[in-house]
Symmetry: C2
């Protein structure tokens, strides 16, 4: 058993998708994989996420099979600038929810996270902490592969975690870039983390992020400038009202000392109660699925286009070379492939 956990923790800290030694066996024993996944077995969980992330043979069938068992988990999204203390806050929340006997999945899609890229220079101490607790499963998503967007990979990983019975999923992501905005939008509750004394923090992350916050956290709030950050958030909030008329609360924390974790958990509970009361959960779900469908269709149709190119003896490499030589224009080529008549 101890050895199993070692495997999981090792994989979670790996910066690259694990090699698919088990790709071949996936379909043949998919029923047993699904059964073990649903029983909460962390090795089956790690295997299933890898298979889905890397689109190993049978990935779509696997997701089809587990889909009926999903939709139960609460999903929290946490985002903020590098250095805002996201991982520490996620740790504190994980400890908090473990005391309430929740089973937790953490997806870290932050290149600066100690779970992912940051681990190289950062510390792995907290990682090891969690690895002794089978109630917490941590998975890193450091880079986007050629097989589809980071948002898709994250959403699929969350679906697998959900099917495995993890009832609380936290997605941690750095708050800059459209990919990250897309990821956080998949969460039921979006928490934006700011810190005082980083100069222009509110300004830095505001584009696209400030408006998706359901809850603001001012972490490291024992530092000078916490009140200024709060005033800035209030000022931004006064400029616009949300369609649902929710005013995101501002919670001050010092995550490294566990200060404010209970208040944050309360704020999360409050917002979830609000969502239920206003019947917004279904609406949010529909919106999320619209976005996921677009992403899924985009990837699947691209695969089809690739297959079509190959049928016609074309290849990306050859076309790209012809374009670089100005012997072919890319815009007509794309139109031809989409129509299905990209002959030589």
């Amino acid at each position: 058993m101890a050895r199993d956990w070692g495997t999981v923790c090792q994989e979670a800290t790996s910066r690259f998708p694990p090699l698919l030694f088990y790709t071949h066996s996936l379909i043949s024993d998919s029923e047993s994989l699904i059964a073990r996944l649903r029983s909460g077995d962390p090795r089956a969980l790690a295997r299933a996420i890898s298979a889905v992330e890397n689109r190993a043979a049978g990935w779509s069938e696997l997701l089809q099979a587990i889909f009926p068992h999903t939709g139960k988990a609460r999903v929290l999204g946490l985002t903020g600038s590098p250095g805002a203390g996201k991982s520490t806050l996620v740790d504190q929340l994980a400890k908090h929810y473990r005391k309430e006997n929740h089973s937790i999945g953490i997806i870290a899609v932050d290149p600066t996270s100690p779970y992912t890229g940051g681990a190289i220079l950062g510390d792995r101490i907290r990682m090891q902490d969690h690895c002794s607790d089978p109630g917490i499963f941590i998975r890193s998503m450091a880079t986007r592969g050629a097989l589809g967007g980071l948002a898709r990979a994250t959403a699929d990983a969350a679906t697998v975690l959900d099917a495995s019975g993890r009832d609380l999923i936290m997605i941690e992501t750095v708050g800059v870039g459209q990919d990250e905005v897309d990821i956080v939008r998949l969460a039921d509750v979006t928490i934006v983390i700011l810190v005082p004394g980083m100069g222009d923090d509110v300004q830095t992350i505001k584009a696209g992020i400030m408006e998706i916050a359901d809850i603001f956290v001012i972490n490291k709030s024992d530092r000078d400038g916490a009140d200024r950050v709060e005033r800035e958030i209030r000022a931004l909030q006064s400029l616009a009202t949300r369609n649902d008329h929710w005013t995101p609360p501002i919670v001050k924390t010092v995550a490294s000392e566990g200060v404010g974790t209970q208040k944050l958990a309360d704020a999360i509970t409050d917002y979830e109660a609000f969502l239920r009361k206003e019947n917004l959960i279904f609406k949010k779900n529909v919106e999320n699925w619209q976005e996921r469908l677009v992403e899924m269709l985009r990837d699947a149709m691209l695969e089809k286009a690739r297959a079509r190119m190959e049928e016609n003896n074309g290849s990306l490499e050859r076309y790209a070379a012809e374009i670089a030589q100005h012997r072919r224009d890319p815009y007509s080529l794309v139109e031809q492939i989409v129509r299905g008549d990209n002959r030589k």
Copy 2:
């Protein structure tokens, strides 16, 4: 003439894509638009970029028509953390290249840039500086729309600038997030900007960015810690050799005072000479076009999938609702749409 420039500058500072008042007229006068674009007319340039960015009717034909006139511009990509001084450095380079009579296009895809989102709290003084010089055209790309990725929009804007005779294009983007990595990869020369005293800067932006740097800049190098940043870069460089055996030089600048601009320009020239000597320009071009083709195919095929859904009386909204109710699984649905048999 002064009024024309006013229009361009106004549009460039706008955070949202301009309304397409001229969509309707695009095709009917596309020949004259192309002629004016090629003559360097900045209003035609702004119009053409908007049309392409928003996929106004005729956007693909426009790109097909101008494609033969592209491939001449040098493209520099500049990336770094928020607050690293990218815009100031771009300004200094722009001034430098203007003295050599280059005609310049700047694309700012940085939500923290004073040209884009940052302008709300930032200063617009430098912006106004440039607006008096018709040799510099600035365009912001603040957000990704529903019509395709930011990387696609940026690449298309660069193509239009190239066709208009701008012979030096600078793309400025914040160095976090996969979108930004994709954007910077389109450049011939990629410049990664670091600053001392921002804590973990090397760590912060390293994931995916450090390895694509052709040149490192340590800006604000009069601050404490510049030597430490340099040592960190050297340490990272010692871990891995590039395939092309180029060792990215480290240039120290104080952009706000114009210090180091000449050295940076020299480093750019050196790298371009290296690319020519090693015959790498064509190779880079082919690689870039492969990535652009993937992005273009992805978007175009998605459009086709959407059309297919509508033909079958489906809609994203309805499917998403059915999925949220667990009455339909999304993975089989996507397979059906791709096959073309998504009946009710």
